[in-house]
Symmetry: C2
DNA sequence: CTGAAAGCGCTTACAG
DNA sequence: CTGAAAGCGCTTACAG
């Protein structure tokens, strides 16, 4: 980088001088605004590259009348959030929507993470699986528009996008029912974003399939550990369900790890269905039947909603929420119900 | 938030007016600079809270003579990076070092991620497991100081901190040797940051334990899939090693998943040692023997180095790198070498 | 402590 | 296209 010879980082003035144009024009080129000829534009970009120029986001967002960056709040320990992040990066590459990230972790609560995003003047916030209730999310965000991913929201000032759990659960239960299963256990996670939605969806699907009276539900965390515990409790009990649907793939994996070690054959003795269809489910030899969540669409729609809120060309979309279809990926962990 | 009644977000001026002090004084309070009495300070903070004031990082970092924020470049698909993120958040909470995150993913290469950090005027960059070679990292960072986590770096202008792989490998190999193992396979990952270091460490540890001639090495990716493939290749071969050390816990897990399904008992028939001692290794029923990486110390030292580079009270520390000790956590996947 | 002021690097509107 | 200018919300040095 020849820029290093200057002793400070190059500014638009430096690029302008190097390209022999005005500073205003450099700004026009970098904003992609009309007013620069193709040839001039190339000269400016060449000079910028030569100097190692990087446009200053702090200055840009401070000065711009409308902040276009999208703040994303995610959880460090949620693999599915990282898949969503990938998708959001893919859908903002080359746009004027830089992503600003802020993580929720043991040492950092949601309010702190959101405050961190506001400090960078984000034009909109995308919250992945937020735990807070609607009113506190609204209070935290203040005047900044909010898009929630992974659960429904009633308040109409918040946009949301999530997988169609009703559809997904129905696909899972119908699949099991077709295989002859009636005694189905659902490992719920009421604490998670979308946890209550998914539980309701399970009850609805059981009713629709006429097995409401033979299904059971257990509640807990959304980790492998929780699945493992559930397996132990199952094995200690008198009547085994013939199939288990887990809140997510991680819970299903933990469950299967214990079952297999204890000599319970999957799916011969018990069928297992995961949720997410993450890498966990897809890999050999796990090959788990799982409800596929379309992370790519979730991410794309979240970005689109945020972008619409930032540039309100039209009144807010109605409805304010989107359900993304799921589909069931049948692999090797589901089979005919055993007769017992 | 009573601030929402203003129609725009509150600034320091608004807080000053509400608290009945000057704007300069509000700045002093928020910077923690000397010049404000305890009582005034409380009045300012109360007014700020009342208004829902969040200090504008864009303006702060634009104006401040020295940018104090730390840019962190991480990979979305690396669980260990998220543990490091947790640690870095914990060690910057309450300091004047806000973290700015930028992810590397399929859709976003390292150069783009680093440029993203520079755009926010970070005072220093912390790169988690960067893949680029030293010269390109230096070129990308320009004048911004760089701290690399997860591998050694020769260039003395870059600080680094990583686990002592030499120690960790020696702990793993010595443990196996004590149990009578000689035929040890190492599943390497030369492409990963620190991969070559760890491979060299394995060879050194084998030599120190007098088993150089009976060990083998296979190379590949750092995923469960890769471990599963390795297990299949092992089972197809004529002579099984009596123990496997994996590049990380994920590879070890994939390996064990196949072994257990094929009726190969761990550790009776084959011992398995992971690396990282992540949640994967710790959970029941996996309970994997693994080389523990001290993520908390790695994160703390990375933050300390970055902070030192931002506020150079003393000349750069010598040496510019730190090796963090590992320790071996013995669980249930290692045992006496089988006689065959 | 106050108050007035300069300036970080941009965006934006404006006269030419 | 240029060039001069204002201003985003802060930090910082300064006179009182």
């Amino acid at each position: 980088m020849s820029g290093s010879s200057m002793g400070r980082r190059p500014t638009m003035r430096d690029v302008a001088r190097a390209a022999g144009v005005s500073q205003s024009l450099v700004s026009i080129v970098f904003r992609g605004a009309p007013g620069a000829g193709a040839q001039t534009r190339d000269r400016v970009l060449a000079a910028a590259r030569e100097l190692g120029y990087v446009r200053d986001e702090s200055a840009r967002s401070l000065r711009a009348s409308q902040s276009t960056s999208i703040g994303v709040c995610f959880q460090t320990r949620q693999p599915f959030h990282h898949v969503l992040l990938d998708g959001m990066y893919a859908h903002t590459a080359g746009t004027n929507h830089p992503l600003v990230l802020s993580a929720v972790s043991d040492a950092r609560d949601e309010a702190t993470a959101i405050r961190g995003l506001l400090a960078y003047r984000c034009g909109a916030l995308v919250l992945l699986g937020p735990r807070g209730d609607e009113q506190s999310l609204l209070a935290m965000a203040g005047d900044t528009p909010v898009v929630v991913v992974g659960r429904r929201v009633d308040d109409r000032s918040i946009d949301w996008v999530t997988s169609d759990d009703g559809l997904g659960m129905d696909q899972a239960v119908t699949h099991l029912r077709t295989l002859g299963h009636r005694r189905v256990l659902y490992l719920s996670c009421s604490r998670a974003a979308g946890g209550p939605d998914r539980l309701q969806a399970f009850h609805d699907a059981a009713a629709a399939n006429g097995i409401s009276r033979s299904v059971t539900v257990a509640d807990g965390e959304m980790t492998e550990q929780r699945g493992a515990r559930a397996a132990e409790r199952l094995l200690a009990g008198s009547i085994l369900p013939t199939a288990v649907i887990a809140f997510n793939d991680r819970v299903a994996l933990g469950l299967m790890e214990v079952l297999i070690r204890r000599g319970v054959a999957v799916p011969k003795d018990i069928s297992v269905v995961g949720f997410d269809d993450s890498e966990i489910a897809q890999r050999d030899p796990v090959l788990m039947t799982s409800v596929h969540q379309d992370a790519e669409s979730l991410a794309r729609i979240a970005v689109e909603r945020a972008s619409q809120r930032i540039h309100p060309s039209s009144p807010p979309t109605d409805p304010h929420g989107t359900l993304v279809p799921t589909h069931l990926v049948v692999r090797s962990t589901t089979g005919e119900a055993p007769r017992r």
